[in-house]
Amino acid sequence: MSYQEKRSIVNIISTLLITGGYSAYALPQYPQAEAYSETIFHFWGSFFFILIGVSIVASIIITILFSILNTVTNGEGEPSLTDERDHVISLRAARNSSYVFILGVLLAMGSLVISQPPTVMFIILILSGVASSLISDMSAFFFYRRGY
């Protein structure tokens, strides 16, 4: 299995762990308030910002750990260059990821159209963000397996 395939698997697992872990920590603190109150919007705003921050920091740490572990176990470090095939795979993965996120945004807006509370919209946005990240890594894994 190539470095890129292993990295995709690690990214998939870390996305699930980070989002799942942070949600398990933060969601029990969901405020008991009116559906359209300022408290609810404040909660979701904080949730998004902290989740993004936690994801960035955790991703950096996981990438470093993976790189070290991979070098120690296989003697295979991070590839020194990215070539045209890497760019093609990256673009295709980003395209698939964008499709999923766009669909998520449309669903989130649709939930407002059918008079669902803002919490539903925020949950759909979070899920679509996670799904798009997973699709990106799964696509990259699939393309590297297939050859392009």
Binding site: Q4, T82, D83, R85, G147, Y148
Partner: protein, 72 residues
Amino acid sequence: MDKLFIGNHIRKLRFEHSEMTQEQLAEKVGVTRQTIVAMEKGKYSPSLELAFRIAMTFQKPLEAVFFVEKAT
């Protein structure tokens, strides 16, 4: 429109050139070894620039390295 398969003789040409390794060819044309592997397996069609780089490395015309046929 018929789908085309772009094949190549890279593996054969490597052996004809002092058994050049995939790693050596990759280094000469500026790609990763995985890309050479994917091309040899017919899983990846290179850009025109990369195709010319490979042909120039083997000092052959493009059509001596790559060929095209209708995909089955």
